[in-house]
Symmetry: C2
Subunit: 480 residues, 2 copies
C-alpha cells in the first residue's frame, strides 16, 4: 500500500468504475465505490478524483457524485479532510487476519490499556456521524436563528427544537405531548439529576441497569431499591407505596434485553395512579427495533404519570449533549426552576441545529441508516455465534445496540479476562447488577440469582473492524 501521495499520483483523476445495476444512480455509484474499497482496488489513503471530474467521466450529475461521497464519508468508507479532498478511509482496509492473541504479540502494558477491539455497549460507532447533513442543518439554523438565540437561553430549551421533538416523538414513539411539556437537557443523566431534585427519593430501579444512573441518583440523596427483572422486563409487582418513582427501560430492558410486557405496562401505570408515584421511562434506544414495529412509549398510556427521557446519544452521537424530558404538566414548572434562571448547559446553536436536523427529515434518515447497520451487525453476531460458539445462547436481540450472551454459571469473570487478553474490551452482566439485588431486604421482589453473561455492544466498533471483533469474541467464550 503506497503512501497517500503515491496513491494519489497513481490514481490521478481517473477512476475506472463499473456502474452495473439499474435504479438510483447515487446508490449504484456508492455500491461500486464500496466494492472497489472492499476488493482492495482502492487502497486506504487513496485520493479520489474531485467529484466534478468523476461526474464528467461517468456522465452523472455533480450532485449525485457529491452526495455519494458524502454518504460514504458518513458510513466510514471515505474520509474528507479540509484542503486535501476525499480519500479512502484508513480503516476501510479489507479485513486481513491480524494476530492479536498474546501468544503472537507480547502483551505490553500499553497494549493491555488500549484494546484492539471494543464491544463495550453504549457507544455508537463515532465514524457514523453524519457530518455533512449536520453541517447543512447548522448552516440553515444559524441563518434562520432570531437574534435572541444568542442571548441567555431559556432553561426550558429553544421552542424550535421542542416543537420538532413533539412531532417526532408522537410519530415515532407514540408519545403524547406538545412542545410546552418538553424540557431540554444535556442528556438522560442531566434529566435524572433534575428529577431527583424535584421528586426526591426513594426510587425503585431495575436490578439490572446503569450503575452510573444509580450513583448519580444517590449523589442527589435518592436511594434506589432493586426491582426483579425477567424476560418480560421489570417485575413491577414489586413496587410499593413508599417508592416515589420507578426508573424503567420499557422498550428494551437495559441491559438484559426484554421489552416490558403489556400487562406490566398497564400495571405500572396503575401503580402510579394509585400511589402518586412517578414512572421514569428511560427511552434510551426506542428507535432501534429490528424484527417488528417498535413498542410505543409507556408515556403514551398516561402522560400525567410518566416522564419520558430521551437523547441523541445513541441515535446520533453522545458528544452533542442534547436530551429531552417529556413531563407531566405539574412537573414542568418545578423542573425548569431546578434548571435555574437560564440555560446553563445546552448550547442554543446546537439545539437549533438539531431542530432543523429533525424537522428536515435528516434525523429520520440517520436513524434508518443506523437501524439497518445495527441490524446487519446483530445478524453477523448471531451468525458468528452459530458458526463458532453454537452452545452460547444470545438474548435481547430484538432491539437496541447490544445483546446479552448467556454464560455457564461461574464463567463470566474468566471470560471477560480472556477477552481482555485477546485484545477485546467487553463487559460482563455483573457490572450492571444492583448491589442490593437478591438480598432478603427486597420487599415484594422476586429472588433472581445473579446470572453470568456478556453484554456485547455491537454498534461500537468501526465498520471494517467488526467481523474480526466477532471472531475474537468467539475465541474468548468458554468451550461448549
Amino acid at each position: 500500500m503506497g503512501s497517500w501521495v503515491d496513491s494519489a499520483e497513481v490514481l490521478g483523476s481517473d477512476l475506472p468504475l463499473e456502474l452495473s445495476g439499474t435504479g438510483n444512480r447515487r446508490a449504484v455509484l456508492m455500491a461500486a465505490l464500496r466494492d472497489a474499497v472492499r476488493s482492495g482496488r482502492l487502497a486506504p489513503g487513496t485520493r479520489l478524483p474531485p467529484y466534478r471530474s468523476l461526474a464528467a467521466d461517468l456522465g452523472l450529475a455533480r450532485n449525485t457524485v457529491a452526495d455519494a461521497y458524502a454518504e460514504l464519508v458518513a458510513e466510514g468508507w471515505l474520509a474528507a479532510r479540509q484542503g486535501s479532498g476525499t480519500r479512502v478511509a484508513e480503516r476501510a482496509a479489507p479485513v486481513t487476519p491480524v494476530a492479536v492473541a498474546p501468544a503472537h504479540r507480547p502483551c505490553t502494558p500499553e497494549r493491555a490499556a488500549r484494546p484492539v477491539h471494543d464491544l463495550v455497549q453504549g457507544r455508537p460507532d463515532p465514524s457514523a456521524f453524519p457530518r455533512t447533513a449536520w453541517l447543512g442543518s447548522a448552516r440553515r439554523a444559524l441563518a434562520a436563528a432570531p437574534d435572541d438565540a444568542f442571548g441567555p437561553g431559556d432553561p426550558q430549551g429553544r421552542p424550535e427544537l421542542r416543537r420538532a421533538l413533539a412531532g417526532y416523538l408522537a410519530r415515532v414513539r407514540g408519545v403524547r405531548t406538545g412542545p410546552e411539556r418538553i424540557v431540554l437537557c444535556s442528556g438522560a443523566a442531566h434529566g435524572l439529576r433534575l428529577l431527583a431534585q424535584v421528586v426526591g427519593g426513594p426510587w425503585a430501579a431495575e436490578e439490572y441497569g446503569l450503575p452510573f444512573h444509580r450513583d448519580l441518583l444517590a449523589s442527589h440523596g435518592v436511594g434506589t431499591r432493586p426491582l426483579g427483572v425477567d424476560a418480560d422486563g421489570a417485575r413491577v409487582d414489586g413496587l410499593n407505596r413508599r417508592d416515589r418513582a420507578v426508573l424503567l427501560t420499557p422498550a428494551h430492558q437495559f441491559p438484559t434485553g426484554g421489552p416490558l410486557h403489556a400487562a406490566r405496562r398497564s400495571a405500572v401505570v396503575d401503580w402510579a395512579r394509585a400511589t402518586g408515584g412517578l414512572v421514569v421511562e428511560d427511552d434510551y434506544d426506542g428507535e432501534f427495533r429490528y424484527d417488528r414495529q417498535p413498542v410505543g412509549a409507556v408515556q403514551g398510556l398516561d402522560p400525567e404519570h410518566v416522564v419520558l427521557l430521551g437523547s441523541v446519544s445513541k441515535s446520533l452521537s453522545p458528544t452533542l449533549r442534547i436530551g429531552w424530558m417529556v413531563l407531566p404538566r405539574r412537573l414542568v414548572g418545578p423542573v425548569v426552576a431546578a434548571k435555574g434562571d437560564r440555560e446553563q448547559f445546552s448550547s442554543a446553536t446546537e439545539q437549533l441545529t438539531l431542530a432543523d436536523f429533525v424537522g428536515s427529515g435528516a434525523y429520520d434518515r440517520q436513524v434508518r441508516r443506523m437501524r439497518q447497520r445495527h441490524r446487519r451487525r446483530r445478524d453477523l453476531l448471531v451468525a458468528a455465534l452459530g458458526r463458532l460458539a453454537p452452545h452460547v445462547r444470545v438474548t435481547g436481540i430484538a432491539a437496541g445496540l447490544h445483546a446479552v450472551l448467556e454464560l455457564p454459571a461461574g464463567t463470566e469473570r474468566a471470560t471477560v479476562l480472556a477477552a481482555g487478553r485477546l485484545g477485546l474490551a467487553v463487559e460482563g452482566l455483573g457490572a450492571y447488577l444492583h448491589p442490593g439485588a437478591g438480598s432478603a431486604a427486597r420487599p415484594g421482589g422476586v429472588e433472581t440469582p445473579a446470572r453470568d453473561g456478556l453484554v456485547v455492544g455491537y454498534a461500537t466498533p468501526p465498520e471494517a473492524g467488526y467481523p474480526e471483533a466477532l471472531e475474537v469474541l468467539c475465541r474468548a467464550l468458554p468451550p461448549g
Copy 2:
C-alpha cells in the same frame, strides 16, 4: 414604511450608493450602507439586491460585498433569512422620538412585564454574534475532526480547544498554563460548582458580586463570607486562615468597577501561599479594557495558588455554554474526576468550532470589534450623562460591559422603579450586595455603608436602540 414585499419591489436590484472615501472597499461600502439605513433611505425590511448584482453594479469583488453584508448582519444593521435574502433589520430604524413615559401611554401589565429598553448588565447584544465566521469555523472543525470527536467526550475537554486557549490566554491575559492544566466546563457557574465540590468551604467573596454565584456555592454547601470592596477592589486584608478560597474579580470588580490594586494582588497571593487557600479569579470581562493595556490575570503571579475562570459568555455569546478553568496542577485530577467519567455538558462539536475560531484569529477579531463597540457605547453613556445629568458620577468605566452610576443616598429603589415606569429595565447596586455585608460579624473587614447606585449594562441593547435607552435612563435619574 411599506411592507417587505413592497419595499423589495421598489428597490428591485438597484441600490444607488455613493462610495465616497478611500481605503478598504469593504469598509467604505459598509459605511455607505449604514448611512443609507440611518438616513431612512433604506427602510427597515427592505430587501437588498443579491450581492452578485450589487458587486457588478459597483464594480466590486463579490466577496467584498458578501463580507460587507455579513458584517452588517453581525452588527445588527441587516438581517439574513434563509430563502429570503438580506434585508434591512427591523430594529435598524432611525431613532425617532417615541413616547414611552406613562403619562403618554397607559402602563398596561404587558408593557410593564416587557420593558422597551434593557440596560441590565451581563448580556452582550445578541445581534452582534458573528454568525458567518462561526459557521466557517464549524465547517472547518467538522471536516477536520477525528472520528473520536463523535464518541463519548473526555471530561477534561477537547485537546484542540485546550491548546488554542492556552496560547490565547497567555498572549492576551498573561496566564501561565499549558493545555494540560485547562479543564473545560460549560461556563463560570459550572466551574464554581466543580470547585465547591473539590475545595469545600467556607469561602470569602467580595461583598458586591453576583447573587447567583453565592447561591450556587451555598447550594453545594459552601458558605461565603463578605470581603469589603472599595475603589481598589476587594479588601483582601480581611482574609483569614479559615477561608478555604476567595472568589475575586480582579480585572474589574463586579459590579463596582475598580481593578484590584497591585499591592492587593500581591497580598492575596501571599495569603494563599501562607494558608494553602485558593484564589478563584473570575476573569469575566478581562478582555474589555478601554483606556490602557488590560491588567494581566492574577493567575500569572502564581499558577499553583490561583484558579482562573473564563468563558465566551461576554465576548461571544452566553448561549454557547463553553467556559474554562486554568487550574493548579494538584487540582486538575480532582476537578476532572468531579466532572464524571465523560463529558456530560459541553458539546465536542462546539468545542472544536471554538478551537478553530480562536486558532484562526476570528476570536481576536470579534473581541476587537466588540471592544470598539463597547467603548463607543461607554463614551455615549458618559456624554449623555454629562449633557442630561451632569450631577451624576459614573464609575467603573475603564473596562467591562457596564458602569456604575452613583446616586444620592436613599434614592436607588425609587430610581429603578422610575426607570421601569419609563419602560427601561436596569438594576440597582443593592441587588448585588452580599446579605452579610456591613454586619459586625465580619472579621477583619471594613465597614462599607451600602451605597446607592445603578448598574448600567451598556452592551445589552441593540445598536439602534441605544441612544434612546440612554435618554430614558437620564430621565429616570433623580434631579441634581
